[in-house]
Amino acid sequence: MLNRRQFIQYSSAAIALAGPLGRALAQSKQASDEFFIFIHAAGGWDVTLWSDPRNERRGIVEPASTANTDTGPIRLWQDAPLDSDVRSFQLIQPPGSRIVFGPGIGRLADFFDRLCLINGLAMNTVSHPDGTAYSATGRHLSGGRALAASVDAMIANELGLTQTFPAVSAQFPSSFAGELDRRAVPLTVERVGSIGRVLARAGAWEKPEERDSVTALLSEEADSLAARAEERGALDGFALQNGSLAKMLGGGLDEVFNENRLKTAWPQFDYKARFQGGRAVNAAFTVEAMKRNLVRCVGFALGGFDTHGNNYKTQAQVQQEAFDLIAELLKTLDTTAHPTRAGRRLSDHCHVLVMSDFCRTPQINLAGGRDHYPNNSALIISGRFKPNYTFGKSDPEQLLPLRAKRFSDGERPIAPPDLLATFLSAFAIPPRRYLRDGEVVPELLRS
C-alpha cells in the first residue's frame, strides 16, 4: 500500500511526465508531411452570394440583384426573376454537386467534389477584430487581446517545429498565446517580399561565417541567462530562434521571397486582378515554399469584402476573384510534386481552411450596402474532410444560424471553436490542448 506521501510523490511525477510524454506520443503518430493553408477573407463576406445563396425575398432577406450588384464581370451570374425590372441570380449546382452555390463562387465551383462547406456558423459578434480572432482562435477577444493561439500557430506547434518556417502569416490574423514552443510563433508580415528584404545580407563587409559566430554566441548568452532566470520561456525562445536564423539565412531563399521572381515562376495566378491581384503573390509563395518543404503553415488574407455602402456592388466580384485564386491554387498544387513523398502530389497532403470575420446583413442598408451580421460560413478543402458536403444551415427568413446537431451542451448551431476542434482532431491533435471550447463534429470528417 502507498502511504499519503508516496501517493503525492508518484502523482506529481506522473503529472509532470504527462505533458511532454503525451506530446511525444501524440507527435509520433502524427503525419509530418502535411501542409496547411489558412485564408482569411478580411472584412466579412456576403454568404448569400456564394455558400448560402439567396435569390428571393423572404423574411428580411433582400437578395443580391441587378439593382445592387454589378453583374457584368460575374461569369456565373444568370438572371432569375425578382421584380418586374430587377433580376436576381440563378442558383448554381454543377452536375454531381450536392452543394448549391451563388455566383460569387467563380471557378471554385469546378472543385465542388473537394469542398466541405460549413454554413450557419454562430459568431456572436459583429466586430471585425473580435470576429477575426474568434474564427482564427476559437475565443473572443478580451480587452482587445487574443486569449488563445491561432490555428496556424497550433498546427505549427504540433507539426512544424522542425521546418525552417513553421508558420508564415501574410496579414492572416495569427496570434500566439499559451505554453507553445517559441519556434511556432507565426512570422507575421505585411507582404512576403518583406521577408526577402529582412533576410538579405551583403557580403562586402563580413562573411556568413562571421555572422554565424555572432549568432552562436548570442544563443550561448541566451542559454546562460535562461539558466539563471526565474522565468526562462522568452530566453529559451530567443536561443531557439537564433538557431533557426542560420537555417533561414543559409538556404538561398531569394527566389522564395522575391515577389518579382515568384510572379515569373508562377505566371498562372492573376496578379492584375482588380481586388485580389496584389495578394495573389501569397498563393505563389505558398506553392514555392511548400514545394521546397520550407514551411508547414502559410496564412494569408484576401481583402475587399467589407462593403457597407455603394461598394457592395463589387462584393460578387471580390468573391469571384478570391475563389478564382483559390481554385488556381488548388490546380497548381495538383500539378506540383510533394517534396518528400515520391509520386504524390502536393495537393494530396495540403489542407486548406478558408474563413472570414462574419457575414453581411440580409437587408440592404440605406447606403446600398450590407453591414455586419453574426452568422458565417467556412470552407475546408482537405482529404481528411468529407468532400462535396454541406454542414449546418441558417434561417431562411433571417439568415441567422440554426441548430446544427445535438452537442454535449444541447442542440445548437456549430461555432468556430467546434470547427477548429474538428480541424485539429483530423490530424490527431487533441483539441483540448489548445481550445477551451468546441467539440469535434465527426459528421465533417471523412470516415
Binding site: S194, I195, T215, A234, F238, N242
Partner: protein, 223 residues
C-alpha cells in the same frame, strides 16, 4: 412588567452615556539584536519581455547619431544602395509594430523573422559605426569611443568592451554573468584571425562583430 421595562430603559440610557473605555498603549518591543533584517523581495516576477517596437527604433536612431528616421536611413544606406539597409517600411512589421491598416496587432513575442530583422539592423548599425568612428576624432565617436589598438590583450579588450557594454546594455561588464567578457574576447580574436579581405580590416570586422553581439543581445532586446 412595566417596572421591568422602566428598569431596562434606565440601564440602557446609563450604559449609552458612559464615557468610552480607554485602552492604554502597550509597551513596544524591539526586535532582538540577533534577528536578521527583514528583506524586501525585489526579484522580478514577470518573464523577460519585448519593449514596444517604438523603443527599438528610437534607440537605433540614437545609436546611428540621427535625429529623424530618414536621417538614420540615409546613414545606414550610405552610398551602397540596399546592401546594408533598405528602408524602415520594410522592417516595421517584422520589428513588431502594429499594422492598423490591416488590423494586425503589435507583436508581443520574438519570432525568428524578428531575430533576422534585429540582425539586419545590427549589422547596418555596427558596420557603419566602425566605418565612421574609427576615422573620426575621439570626441565625435558615438559607439566606439576608444582607441582600437592591435594587438590587444584580454585586459585591454575588457577595458574597451566595457565601453560598448555600458552603451548597449547600460551597466558595467564586470557585473555581467561570469564568462561574458571571455566569450566576447574569443569572438573578437576568432573574427580578427579568420576575417577574409572585405571593406573592413580584420580589427574593424572584429569590433563590428562584438558590437553586433551586444546590439542583438537578449538583455538589449528584452527587459
Amino acid at each position: 412588567m412595566r417596572r421591568v421595562l422602566v428598569l431596562m430603559c434606565f440601564s440602557m440610557c446609563f450604559s449609552a452615556c458612559r464615557p468610552p473605555a480607554l485602552i492604554p498603549p502597550g509597551a513596544t518591543s524591539q526586535l532582538p539584536p540577533s534577528h536578521p533584517p527583514i528583506l524586501v523581495d525585489v526579484a522580478p516576477k514577470e518573464a523577460p519581455r519585448l519593449l514596444p517596437a517604438e523603443a527599438y527604433v528610437r534607440t537605433y536612431m540614437q545609436l546611428f547619431g540621427a535625429q529623424t528616421l530618414l536621417e538614420a536611413q540615409q546613414k545606414a544606406k550610405g552610398k551602397d544602395g540596399n546592401q546594408l539597409f533598405d528602408n524602415w517600411g520594410d522592417y516595421l512589421t517584422t520589428l513588431g509594430f502594429p499594422d492598423h491598416r490591416n488590423d494586425l496587432p503589435r507583436a508581443r513575442e520574438t519570432n525568428a523573422l524578428m531575430i533576422a530583422t534585429f540582425e539586419r539592423l545590427g549589422i547596418a548599425l555596427c558596420d557603419r559605426a566602425v566605418e565612421r568612428d574609427f576615422h573620426a576624432p575621439m570626441a565625435q565617436r558615438i559607439i566606439f569611443a576608444f582607441d582600437p589598438i592591435d594587438p590587444i590583450d584580454s585586459s585591454q579588450f575588457a577595458e574597451r568592451f566595457d565601453v560598448l557594454h555600458r552603451t548597449f546594455l547600460g551597466y558595467p561588464s564586470k557585473l555581467a554573468p561570469p564568462g561574458r567578457i571571455d566569450r566576447y574576447y574569443k569572438l573578437y580574436k576568432d573574427t580578427q584571425t579568420k576575417h577574409a579581405k572585405t571593406r573592413l580590416s580584420p580589427t574593424e570586422a572584429a569590433w563590428s562583430a562584438v558590437c553586433q553581439g551586444l546590439i542583438r543581445h537578449p538583455e538589449f532586446l528584452l527587459y
